[in-house]
Symmetry: C2
Subunit: 207 residues, 2 copies
């Protein structure tokens, strides 16, 4: 018989569950007790999913997207524009952009953003592989699609500076008021940018 | 090499994560990708916590609370009133009531509430063990502390009917406006009950 006491088992499960971002201890306890109500096979399957994921998932050697082979399905897709690389923070951003069906270039997953507070510097991110990729493939344009936070902007600027020496256009995604948003409820920064980055009415009609 | 494709591994992990109550697929994906960023040992520890919990946690034979022995620390505590049983839905409710330091009787965990919609009937809950416990221990009072939902009220009424034949007082926790709540923001049902169940001003001062 294992010597762990039941309250310690609960404690450890709550600790682990609340280690997930956005899950507080009260929510964690609720989730853990819900797991406890399931049968053993279900709990095993729940836990195994994460162990399997970690041990078996593979990443694309070129863009660092998740992949089943050496290169991911986007990198090997010949119908996509190889001259265009969209730089994103993580895999979720690829999923979000792919869901729009508006982009047909390649991606490059940084794996994070520069954040000195969290001890994340440029060398912790996939920036060197981006530089060599741009050099080797004669990329025409690098689109920076990072979040508008301080860290995102810093990372974007760092990449922009690195790209200056290379013969490549660097662009960034448009910021502004979301389609359908009420102006009065928009934050000032987004509204300000949407005025600065305004486009011709005829252009906006074409989109 | 395992034949699972990476996207299937992600898919299964997201399926499992979103099987938790209140976790949608978008949140689940965010949590899963955060797990993927951790090292293997951390993910193993995360997963093991739930498997260990399920396989090793023990429950009190008398009140169905989690326990390290045959009986839980509340049931074996001689300084607590054995004539008083507070009926709750699950273990969290015991934790919540214990945190108030206002209750010194015993508990009885039902393990749910009667909910025909979810296929949960009286026989799926620890109601028979409550009845035999009340009979055997000559319990003085059964306090029903279930939530104020339709299912909670139904379960409370079912237990009340079962207790009618036994020589035991059945009470229910007070419902009303929470301490510190503004009357104008309270829901009508709670406000209504707090008026019906009003107490003498001198009594409320004593509490």
């Amino acid at each position: 018989m294992n010597s762990s006491s039941s309250s310690k088992l609960i404690e450890e499960a709550v600790d682990q569950m609340s280690s997930l971002p956005g899950i507080g201890r009260k929510t964690a306890l609720r989730l853990v007790l819900q797991l406890l109500e399931r049968n053993k096979d279900e709990v095993d399957r729940f836990s195994r999913a994460f162990v399997n994921l970690k041990s078996e998932v593979k990443f694309c050697k070129q863009c660092h997207n998740i992949s089943d082979d050496l290169l991911c399905h986007i990198c090997v897709n010949k119908s996509r524009d190889n001259g265009l690389i969209c730089v994103v923070q993580d895999i979720r951003d690829i999923m979000a952009i792919e869901a729009t069906s508006q982009y047909f270039g390649q991606y490059h997953v940084l794996g994070g953003v520069i954040s000195p507070m969290d001890g994340i510097g440029p060398s912790d991110l996939n920036i060197n592989s981006l530089i060599s990729r741009v050099e080797e493939n004669q990329t025409k344009e690098v689109i920076i699609a990072l979040k508008g936070s301080m860290e995102g902007e810093t990372t974007g600027f760092y990449i922009y500076k690195k790209m200056e020496k290379l013969n490549v256009k660097v662009s960034t995604i448009a910021r502004g008021i979301a389609v359908g948003d009420e102006l009065e409820y928009a934050d000032e920064i987004s509204l300000g940018r949407s005025i600065l980055n305004r486009s011709l009415y005829t252009e906006s009609l074409a989109k």
